[in-house]
């Protein structure tokens, strides 16, 4: 068996990923605390609001960095949607996660210099980074300047709708985080992927 080392994650990506991870964690914790408005001694409401605002701005700026990075560097090519045979690829990867990997089958889409993510991974990242994130950033900014929001939509307060939408998006991103963290542990060595996102180097066994 040979081990190939690939430089998967450039510095800018790792820096963004680090800030984003910290920011998102703060956002989730403070978001939940505001959702239930638990005035716990650990984190009181006004502190939660303040932290949520700061982390929100940090993550939004980080998002711009990520967006620009993918626009201007080669990293963007890993995020291009290829609709042809997409369904089949997703099903194959899902089948591997649910069944194949327990039978010691080889992964259907081995990672290489040309393929940084498996199909499920790739499309969940696209969904989160190019749909959920922009929406959560826009609704979050709107809530930061609530006077900009349309006052009433069919008898419903515009702020109320924005807030519900924002928290629903935040919730979906939290669910993504759980799955993201778990799936990262899949592999021969459960810690390998966590190490890669810190060092940038990804090891592939042939």
């Amino acid at each position: 068996m040979t081990t190939e080392k690939l430089y998967f994650y450039p510095v800018w990506l790792r820096v963004w990923h680090g800030f984003n991870a910290l920011g998102i964690l703060v956002l989730i914790v403070t978001g939940i605390s505001m959702q239930w408005s638990i005035d716990s001694p650990l984190i009181n409401f006004s502190l939660a609001v303040k932290l949520h605002n700061i982390a929100g701005v940090v993550v939004s700026i980080g998002y711009l960095l990520f967006f620009a990075g993918n626009l201007f560097t080669v990293n963007g090519k890993f995020y291009r949607v290829k609709p042809k045979g997409l369904g089949k690829r997703l099903v194959r990867q899902a089948r591997y996660y649910l069944c194949g990997m327990f039978k010691n089958e080889e992964p259907p889409f081995p990672l290489s210099e040309k393929r940084k993510f498996n199909p499920l991974q790739k499309y969940s990242y696209i969904l989160v980074m190019y749909l959920l994130m922009p929406l959560v950033v826009i609704t979050g900014l709107a809530l930061l300047f609530p006077e900009l929001i349309i006052e009433e939509v069919y008898h419903l307060s515009g702020i109320f709708l924005t807030a519900v939408f924002h928290s629903a998006l935040g919730f979906l991103i939290s669910i993504f985080l759980i799955v993201h963290l778990y799936v990262a542990s899949i592999g021969k060595n459960p810690l390998k992927n966590y190490r890669s996102i810190v060092t940038g180097w990804h090891e592939i066994n042939h």
């Binding site: 959702q35 408005s37 609001v49 006077e147 109320f160 759980i178 778990y182």
Partner: protein, 313 residues
Amino acid sequence: MLNLIRNVFAFVLLVVSLSVNSQESRPLSEGALHCLTCHGNQTYTLQNPWTGQEEKRLMNPYFIIDTTHYRTGVHRTFSCTDCHATDYETYPHAAELKLEPLSTCLDCHGGDDTYAKYQFERIDEEFQKSVHFVKSGESFTCSKCHNQHYYKPTARNSSTVSEIVSYNNAMCLSCHNNLARFQLVSDQQNPVLAQVHAWLPNQELHFRNVRCIECHTQVTDTLMVSHNILSKEHAVQKCVECHSSNSMLKASLYKYQNLQARSGKGALGAVLQNESYLIGANQVPALKLLSILIFVAALAGVLLHSVFRFTKK
């Protein structure tokens, strides 16, 4: 064709405006009409017995009655002399009439079964604990806030929260944003509201969407509107008092919105917003349940998968 449409449109507008007017205003009493010939206008005309000439003069602006508002107020069917002295019916009015003590609200509304459901005596009890009464005593009458000429029970009748809020806040602002009226009961300058509320996030939005009394009263469940106005030292300053699933607003402002929701207006709003009142506690029950289900499913999925991973190794 265009003309026909225009005429039909004009007719519909006329019918609608007539029906709206007939609902809101009733004819004024003879007595009121008599006084309003002068007090309902900017100017009045009198026959001066000294010069023998007819003279037109400016009415003192504080004594002008806004007839549009008067027509929609609760006391609109009254004659002026029901509360003011009958001697006012002659002109020129005698100077000492100014010193005549006017009836207070409780003179009519207190101890009368007709008004029992409004609990005027309890309101008076609550008011006597308020900062207004404590600082100014008896000189702080009901009419300092509730203008008898125009008063409308908005909290009971209005179908929109924003109308309740703006009507109610206008009462507070009539003194707290007006030095002359403020100094009727105080020797000090009225504090600049934007400054004393500088600590409040999204100040403008709060001022537009909740009443001053939301934070500045001791909420009493059994009263429609709490009258124990609190000083700034005792007012609510904690965000979670409102921004929580157990918001104190449920016992104050939003108890009226409940009435509105049940009245059928905005059915979608009633369903979705039934238990969700505020940012920070946007708990739509259906979404809350769904999110718990998704969360549990995600955790169960992860757990199950890892169990398989370790057992099938």
